[in-house]
Chain length 348, copies 4
């Protein structure tokens, strides 16, 4: 018996990735697709401009899209919804679902930094999920909102976690080169990015600099005590379809050699025994000098592994390396789905 789930914002860029991941899922049964008024009432295949390079899953094609209203009868048996809503809509609509008793696994940024909302990467801080107890108490909800971080944050934090655990973290510089899919299908006009790059992504650096500290923080007395290291990011959009690449420079507390960092990353595999369907080895290390590369490596671990290369001594800090993430899978839809799988395994 699979658990019935819905997707909010099902026709958009991240929504389509949710559909791909959930259409044939061993634990979840994709039962409701919600979108805007304009799409509601239409078959999914007609409501959405499907631009993935695989076909719309057969069993989803003809599902009729509903409005994003938890009172729709289609949501009745649904316990879990995945939110691919834009931030402003998420702000308004996710609480309505939580109030109606739904567990909202959200990719939106709206509630990530709220004190009583877990911001979770299960390999990194799965225990933060327990914040939902407080959240329910505070807000009088039967359901809850559980968020995953911003795409570029996930990439960095997964690689920083094994370093922090072993050597402590002091300072981290990150320069990102982010794919256009991260801005949504219509987000980056071709006129803006062919033979070009844009050295700015609205709010992205702020998200990386704050979300990281919450993720790597410690749950104490129902609160997250933020991690103490410092992080500085410079974020860029480049003409790549999928795959965020990050140049990361790290100063540890205790000093670390590249070989030790590599070993720590390679051994980092905290959930391997849980048998979660979407789980893959969180960090895959490549030895070639010129890897990872987004087009060649973004699908490793079905898009769920962070691919790391060029781990080398840094002339100022301890170590520098390059990390790559499939931004719409590991950095978005896949992150939410993994959160839900973990939740189901642990708490249901």
């Amino acid at each position: 018996m699979r658990i019935k789930v819905g997707v909010l914002g099902a026709t958009g860029s991240v929504g389509q990735k949710f559909v791909q991941l959930l259409a044939d899922h061993p634990i979840f049964e994709l039962s409701v697709l919600a979108a805007s008024e304009r799409s509601a009432g239409k078959k999914y295949k007609d409501a959405c401009y499907w631009y993935q390079d695989t076909e719309i899953p057969e069993n989803v094609k003809d599902m009729v899209v509903v409005t994003t209203d938890p009172k729709n009868k289609e949501f009745e048996d649904v316990d879990i919804v995945f939110s691919a809503l834009p931030s402003d809509l998420a702000k308004k609509l996710e609480p309505e679902f939580a109030k109606e008793g739904k567990l909202v696994f959200s990719n939106a940024s709206a509630y990530r930094m709220e004190e009583d909302v877990p911001l979770v990467i299960p390999e990194v801080n799965a225990d933060h999920i327990e914040l939902i107890e407080i959240q329910r108490k505070n807000r009088g909800w039967d359901g809850a909102i559980i968020t995953n971080p911003n795409c570029s944050t996930i990439c960095a934090v997964i690689t920083l976690k094994p370093i922090m655990d072993k050597f402590g973290l002091e300072s981290v510089f990150i320069a990102t080169m982010q794919a256009v899919s991260g801005a949504g299908y219509n987000g980056v006009p071709s006129m803006a990015i062919i033979d070009n790059l844009i050295p700015y992504i609205k709010n992205e650096e702020e998200k990386m600099q704050t979300e990281s500290l919450k993720l790597l923080g410690t749950l104490k007395d129902n609160k997250v005590e933020f991690a103490k290291f410092k992080l500085s990011a410079s974020c860029n959009r480049v003409p790549v379809l999928d795959g965020h690449t990050e140049c990361i420079f790290v100063k540890t507390s205790e000093g670390a050699e590249p070989e030790d960092v590599k070993e720590a990353m390679d051994k980092f595999d905290p959930l391997k025994d849980l048998d979660l369907p979407t789980y893959a080895k969180p960090i895959v290390i490549r030895e070639e000098l010129d890897r990872p590369q987004p087009r060649l490596d973004r699908n490793i671990g079905k898009g769920m592994s962070i691919v790391v290369g060029r781990i080398r001594k840094d002339p100022i800090f301890d170590v520098k390396y390059v990390a790559l993430e499939h931004n719409t899978i590991r950095g978005a839809a896949g992150a939410s789905v993994l959160n839900a799988e973990y939740f189901v395994k642990k708490y249901l």
Copy 2:
């Protein structure tokens, strides 16, 4: 009366840029085009696959290419040669020209780090040119080799110079996003870079990390005392035709606010009174949040200005910003030509 000059490696990527810059130059008269045996004897228009988006200059089209041998009679009246040779050929051939009394203004890396060879950006360390006295003595040459730095080094160092002068430099992190033209016309296959990037450029990080210290060093007793700050680079190739973009994080000795850094950069204009034909304001600052962008800003100052944007407070160091350089003009051919113009103005 203009000074007769030649170009070595005239048919290649940087060679073509030299030809564009010199074809109609107020001080220099382009008299000799040298290239490999294969090209020698042919008209320039036939010897070279011209792929600039302007036509081959009329007065150059039918010039006959000669071999890269200073004993060719065509070099007789030529005092200055510009070298766009690949490093291995430069190593062998540039000394032959210097021995024959030519001043070699070289874009090649072969001699940059030799103790008695000036590595010069005229706005930054013009006085290092005096090293050629020692060079001539050491090597028994009538001519000399004067080099300009690697493209990505120039971009960074020009922006660091006014900061160092005012606040002192301690540490600098740089992540680059470099154009494919930097690798030469055939350097980056389209199969390698469409929908992709490559987080590695051979020897590039090493060049940035060493050349910068020589450039910002001090000439004392006929030697360059290297600067003492530390620099760490991570270099990437991106699908951009021309224009290197760099994310730079700077820690100064005395502390510096973004506004002060901006002012120092904006005022930096050391050679403005020399009236050098290729000179442009070395740093142009853009206030828009999403600039500089390579396609839109690479031609500012006819490709000779470094365009800087996003100067902002850094959460770890003092300041971070984004710098852009036209890599084949300011970062290559234009750098050599400016060196020669400065030399002529000062010493001839």
Copy 3:
């Protein structure tokens, strides 16, 4: 004394090209910039996201944008307006300007195929301008609307005109590869076109197939008798910023050899004695096997020349060749400006 002109739709993609062409024009003085309510009242530099690779012209930067209403006092002394309006707005607004006595040189498709509206390429059918007499009578206007064709039509028709004149035309097949700028700045998302092409452009084939026959038709008794040949087009969007490329296969009435076609094209230069500022040789022929190429050849004749290459014998028809046009200059703003220059020269 220059003639005061205005631009309608001044902030958009084609509007910006008009501004570039008119900012420093010997005959026209750019006096009014009109755009939507949202932009009106703002300085041009603030109203428009300027994404050309040259700066906003100094004398235009601070001009205050007005609404697209001919009764605005700013239009008082303006006799000519250039319209870069989208088709639906053009339909409504252009007649209002014509009614107020303005000559509207329009790049919009709204009125192109109306019986009493001239559709003009001055090198091809300048005499069609006389239709405005009828137009004024029919519609009771003091002003008039004079249109230029769709971008891909212009490219083809300019090359077909000298062939038709010399050999007669029977059938023409055309496959286009059109730049993304043709769809406007936001028209083609990068997600839609990186590593991709789209073999469809709405209404484009229809426009080419009908507009061509009007353009190459004959003005008789105040009517255009359409040309009788047949044209079939297949239109594609490709990841090129500027420059439409067309593969053209032509069957003439009398038979034609490639050399004859080349000669006819090369000699085609009907307005060379009029000294029109925006005029350039309408067809430039390249002999290289692999030209024209959009990035390398689109700026020939300041973007006003059609560049033709590969004129060769066709195994079925008489001849085939490749033609290239800068779509936002020769194919849009430049076409309107040239129409106006011709009009001024001939009729004012």
Copy 4:
């Protein structure tokens, strides 16, 4: 028991596709990888720069590459070799293999147009394989050479076959937009194709214009009588990684309506009962106005289906449409493998 096979030119672009297709093949066992002297003796993973977006197959990684010499003992038990050799090497080496009794399924152009060499697309002219009887007699070989056509020819001919069978063919115009992978990994520099296209591919139009007539010709008395229709092609390289798109205009002998052509194409499935492992429905029709698109549709049928869209009435001929082919699978390696599968099924 699978049949042992080898790949000649195994490290190159098409060679890697052969390896992907054969590494885990139900009928063939990939036993020998041959390449140049430079690669021989190395493990495949070291000899080849693997740039596919999936990993090197585990069972191939450590295979030791041999020279392209049929006398190498590794070829002893091998009956079939697939040739991804460049044309000049193919000319010399393929006969050596045929002489040693090997069946050479070749993607090279060297022997395609030889009178006694079958040029085969199994769905189109499988019976031409019988030419090898004559070939063996003529040349005294125990083995034989069986070729598949040039990539862009295959795409066109598969779609023309059902039209010809039902309506007869008179004239066909084709304009292609071909992916960079068709030129090999290093074939098209990024400097040549970013923001650009190249309206010329050496010998490509000639290949399309001659190979098509042989493929659609009739085997009579051990000779191929060429088809009588005429074909004219104009070939272009565009910035797409994989996937050739073709605009095709067709005049039939008997006249044909778009709906009839669509039906004929859709029903065309001649080998569906043979159960060949690499076989997919040869033509898949898409109804959307803006399809096929290379990035979205090239992998349909695991890259073996030609995807056709926009079948519509032509104003001059009968019908026009757009066809798409994965050029390195259906248009190269997959074509050879399918030929071999068919051969094994029919003749072994």
